[in-house]
């Protein structure tokens, strides 16, 4: 019986595509498929074909998202290219609505001042999926897989039939190449339709990509506007200009849609740069550059043994140039010296002199287990290029109209053998909306994450943080409710996205913990600021009350004895009022109430803009026991220092 059932199960599985598989054979008219006929249909599926059918995996689910994804992929690439070449990025994004009749026909153009692309690589970079420089290196970069921009071109081609237009100049004083590129999705191969040289490129070097596509442009949440705004925050060294589609009227009908003239753009940039705040000049939205330094170029590292899975370990052994196990371990991985290598091989019952060829599956598995047990130092961390607290502040100051800004950066940590680093920025008060939940903006390797907030580890950490401790109200299993923007950046050689469209970070314990620690640091600074603000408000209320009653008292005294001059008494009392409240301030300072603020003012990672306390209606969350606040704080402090020291020493790998 067991044999029989296995047999029957196997057969329909093999011929699963046959529609009549389940029916009795005798009744079917068509000849039953044989292994040979089936083999005719069996062939390789090209990646481009796969993604053409599954474009939602890449972020092209709907016309609106397609526009955003295209901008995102192109801007990410542009920023990566500029930084790698050591150029301060100047990026121009333009979205045009091409036809009045067909409302969903758009052209998206992104231009940068990067190093440009040599002619021979243009075809592959833009016309082939999974072609790129970043996939194979253990290095922090925005792009990872090499799918993005070519997928956008493919999407454009499929929805409009128009090839993408690439203009790139790779050498100063040389003409630029103008290439129009289609793609053979079945073969995953580029098809060049136009290839000419042109002088029509405003930058010394750089690349411009134009893609026509079926799209839709709207503002608001998860829009191109939001993406660029957040990109500008995370990249204060970049200058980004954006022209959104203008409302077209009938008179313009014969007018050809053209890119914004370079001179107009320059003028807008000059205006905005003066303000050093996000400014709209004419039709152009300018995110000015607020930091003139490029972020340090991240260093490429070798994989860490603990971050490698069994399968890839075996692959690496197959590909390795080294003949013996010891050499392989020492040279293909980071943090493996002779001692560690020896410990690993001995733990697997092998020697450093074991020939790689003789390592079979069983040996590899033992080796893998042994690696997990071995004590190996955490991977080197210079491969990370965090934004940096000062740059985060610069970015927030430029784009967020708040009154209190603070930032904190965690030391690098490791998840699954991949180094990563968490930074948090926090803006509070000012013109931020008072009555809604705090806005959380998430970044992975400086790229904004706009979708799937609640599935993202970065957001989860915000929810898990107890904001009430910092005087901010918070609903059950929800984020804080305050006029607040929380920015979280995760820098990593390999950001663990939950899907290929790179929308959310997977939930690793190590990552969540680091974020929470960074949030707590910002939260503490916020709390002392909020408290101080509440105190100032109280003081001014005090002054208010006194001045309010002074008139009454002076008049009463004058009624009692008309020889007492009401005006004089009033003035005298006003002097006392000023004197008294100042005295109270001083005393508060002596009592250490204001220490926190002094510390805040000295903290170089905190910026407090002048704001009138009258305007802010934000109420401090009441604490259980105001009297014991000091003691509580002290208790918490000692707890906290223990906590952070435990996580700071990087003992994860011991």
């Amino acid at each position: 019986m067991p044999t029989l059932s296995r047999m029957t199960k196997k057969r329909p599985a093999k011929s699963a595509r046959g529609a009549s598989a389940a029916k009795p054979r005798k009744k079917s008219a068509a000849p039953s498929p044989t292994a040979e006929t089936l083999a005719e249909k069996q062939r390789e599926i090209s990646v481009s074909e796969f993604f053409a059918k599954n474009r939602h995996l890449l972020g092209f689910d709907n016309p609106r998202k397609a526009v955003l994804t295209t901008v995102k992929e192109a801007v990410d690439n542009a920023l990566d290219a500029c930084e790698e070449a050591g150029i301060l990025p100047e990026i121009h994004v333009e979205i045009e609505q091409l036809s009045e009749v067909n409302e969903t026909r758009y052209r998206v153009t992104i231009q940068d001042n990067g190093p440009g692309i040599v002619r021979k690589q243009i075809d592959n970079i833009f016309g082939k999926l999974l072609y790129g420089s970043k996939f194979h290196q253990m290095k922090m970069s925005r792009g990872q897989q090499g799918i993005g921009i070519s997928a956008a071109g493919m999407y454009g081609l499929m929805t409009t039939g128009k090839p993408m237009v690439i203009t790139s100049r790779s050498r100063k004083n040389k003409p630029a190449h103008h290439v129009e590129l289609a793609m053979d999705t079945r073969k995953n191969k580029p098809e060049v339709t136009v290839d000419v040289e042109t002088d029509d490129f405003p930058e010394h070097t750089g690349t411009r990509v134009s893609i026509e596509m079926e799209g839709r442009y709207t503002r608001g949440r998860t829009s191109v506007d939001e993406y660029l705004e957040q990109t500008a925050i995370a990249n204060p060294h970049a200058r980004i200009t954006f022209r959104a589609p203008a409302k077209r009227n009938d008179e313009d009908e014969n007018g050809e849609v053209t890119l914004l003239p370079a001179e107009d753009r320059q003028a807008a940039v000059a205006r905005a740069q003066q303000e050093s705040r996000t400014t709209k000049v004419g039709e152009v939205l300018v995110f000015p550059r607020t930091v003139d330094e490029l972020p340090p170029e991240p260093v490429e590292i070798k994989p860490h043994p603990k971050g490698v899975e069994l399968g890839s370990l075996m692959q690496m052994m197959k590909r390795s140039e080294h003949a013996k196990l010891g050499g392989f371990l020492r040279n293909e991985f980071c943090r493996v010296g002779p001692g560690v290598a020896k410990a690993i091989v001995e733990g697997a019952g092998l020697t450093t002199q074991t020939w790689l060829k003789t390592v079979g599956h069983d040996e590899a598995e033992r080796l893998y287990q042994s690696i997990q047990r071995a004590k190996i130092m955490a991977p080197p961390l210079d491969c990370l290029a965090p934004i940096g607290p000062k740059q985060i502040l610069a970015g927030l100051l430029k784009g967020v109209r708040a009154e209190f800004f603070t930032a904190s950066m965690r030391p690098p940590a490791v998840y699954r053998g991949n180094p990563f680093q968490i930074e948090v920025g926090l803006a509070f008060g000012g013109e931020l909306p008072n009555d809604s939940a705090a806005r959380v903006i998430r970044f992975a390797n400086r790229v904004p994450l706009l979708y799937q907030q609640s599935a993202c580890a970065l957001y989860k950490a915000v929810v898990e943080t107890k904001w009430r401790n910092y005087g901010v109200s918070q609903g059950k299993s929800a984020g804080p409710e305050a006029p607040m923007v929380i920015m979280i950046h995760m820098a990593s050689v390999w950001a663990p996205f939950t899907s290929e469209s790179k929308e959310a970070i997977a939930d690793y314990d190590e990552i969540g913990k680091e974020i929470r620690l960074a949030l707590k640091e910002c939260g503490r600074k916020l709390a002392s600021y909020v408290r101080k603000r509440a105190r100032i408000k109280r003081e001014s209320q005090k002054r208010d009350i006194f001045t309010r009653y002074i008139g009454e008292v002076a008049r009463a005294l004058h009624v009692i004895d008309p020889t007492l001059d009401a005006a004089r008494v009033r003035d005298d009392l006003k002097v006392v009022a000023r004197h008294r409240t100042e005295l109270a301030d001083e005393m508060a300072a002596e009592n250490g109430d204001m220490d926190a603020l002094g510390a805040l003012a000295r903290d170089e990672h905190t910026v407090i803009l002048d704001s009138d306390c009258e305007g802010g209606e934000f109420q401090l969350e009441p604490r259980d026991d105001e009297l014991n606040t000091d003691q509580k704080m002290r208790k918490k402090k000692s707890k906290r220092s223990k906590q952070s020291s435990a996580s700071d020493d990087g003992s994860l790998f011991e």
């Binding site: 005090k542 009350i545 006194f546 309010r548 009653y549 008139g551 009454e552 008292v553 008049r555 009463a556 005294l557 009624v559 009692i560 004895d561 007492l564 008494v569 005298d572 009392l573 002097v575 006392v576 009022a577 004197h579 008294r580 409240t581």
Partner: protein
């Protein structure tokens, strides 16, 4: 801090002196002031100042402190048992030196300070115009919206009432002296003629309602003329007093009968004091047998805790307690049906009274209160009506007076 206090006190004294001299010059010619001085002749020298002058002094102090860049304040004597002392010699309650400082530049006191000034100015207006008014009237007089705000100077009458009490103790002036009166409560009849604001009143021809005792009974308002009374009887309740009036007890026993409608108001107490001091009439007190009754007696005899500064003018240290005593039920064969069980509050209050310094050393009083607690019942005056409606006037009180069954 200590230094500062001293300096401030000196300033205060200087200012006060200045103000006094300025004021006496101003008001010295007024007739009213001089007569008032005679009336309160027995009081401490600082208290000799008329209320009007004391208010002016207060105003000058405040103005002066403001000019010195100091936080203006008013010291308000504490009205609590902890701040009174029983003077064994004069047998009255005297106010201690504890004060509560009410300063302007203190967030929780600013409004009260302002209100105190408003009430003071309201009173000074009253005195200037030689008018008297009710405390509710003054509340409305001082209530208005503060300029440029939506806040009222006073929201509830309760606020102004407590401020008035504060001002009374702070200025050591009765509210009656500040031109304020409470709702008149209390009545009297007896073989006596008085002059009230010039009207001659025969207290033996007051009908069933009696003469309503006004709030202000100072010498310049009420003058005693001829009388045939031998003593004064204070009865706790109006209802029982009516029985005494109807039975013309005062005629038979040649006495003045007074009631205060429960705890007697200041006017009644001041009048008792004057009858006792000026006409040398002994005062007997007839109250319910419960802690509340004991306390009424205590206030009449020694003065009250909250107005301790006025004890000298209101207390009647020679007053005697005639009843009802906790022993009376047995003595007069009252049935258990007419007694009321004591409550937890009664027991607590009785023990408090028992421990008052002025009761603590009197053995008879300790016995009296202990007995009530032992029986666990209290008695109302009306309980005597279970015997007969006029039992109280015809048998109970005459027998007690005859036997001299008083408690001191």
């Amino acid at each position: 801090m200590a230094k500062k206090k001293v300096v401030r006190k000196v300033v205060k004294k200087v200012v006060r002196k200045k103000a006094i001299t300025a004021q006496t010059k101003k008001t010295g010619t007024k007739k009213k002031t001089s007569s008032q001085k005679n009336a309160g002749g027995k009081r401490r020298p600082a208290m000799k100042l008329a209320a009007r002058e004391r208010i002016v002094t207060l105003a000058h102090e405040v103005a002066e402190m403001a000019a010195q860049v100091d936080d203006p304040f008013v010291d308000i004597p504490t009205r609590a048992l902890s701040n009174v002392a029983f003077n064994e010699k004069s047998r009255i309650i005297e106010m201690g030196d504890n004060t509560q400082r009410r300063s302007f530049f203190n967030l929780s006191q600013a409004k009260k300070f302002m209100q105190t000034m408003l009430i003071a100015s309201g009173c000074s207006e009253l005195l200037d115009q030689e008018k008297t008014t009710s405390i509710r009237d003054l509340f409305y007089h001082c209530k208005h919206t503060i300029e440029g705000t939506k806040e009222n100077t006073f929201d509830e009458q309760d606020e102004s009432d407590t401020i008035i009490e504060d001002l009374e103790v702070a200025l050591a002036s009765l509210r009656e002296e500040l031109g304020l009166f409470a709702e008149p409560k209390g009545a009297m009849v007896g073989p006596m003629t008085i002059v009230d604001k010039g009207d001659v009143i025969d207290l033996s021809r007051m009908g069933s309602g009696g003469y309503a005792i006004p709030s202000i009974v100072e010498g310049e308002v009420i003058k005693f003329q001829k009388h045939k009374a031998k003593f004064v009887l204070l009865i706790e309740k109006g209802a029982v007093w009516r029985r005494f009036n109807e039975d013309r007890f005062w005629e038979k026993h040649k006495c003045v009968i007074v009631h205060g409608g429960g705890q007697p108001p200041r006017g009644v107490r001041r009048l008792l004091h004057r009858l006792n001091q000026e006409l040398k009439l002994p005062v007997y007190v007839l109250v319910d047998n419960d802690p509340w009754g004991y306390y009424i007696y205590s206030v009449v005899k020694q003065g009250s805790i909250s107005l301790a500064f006025e004890s000298q003018r209101m207390a009647v240290p020679d007053a005697r307690f005639v009843g009802m005593s906790s022993f009376d039920a047995e003595k007069f064969g009252l049935s258990k049906d007419v007694t009321i069980a004591v409550t937890v509050q009664d027991i607590r209050r009785a023990n408090e009274i028992k421990n008052y310094p002025w009761f603590a050393k009197k053995r008879a009083w300790q016995r009296e209160i202990d007995h009530m607690l032992k029986l666990g019942v209290k008695l109302e005056l009306e309980a005597l009506s279970s015997k007969d409606f006029s039992f109280i006037t015809e048998i109970y009180l005459p027998r007690k007076l005859k036997a001299g069954e008083f408690l001191d």
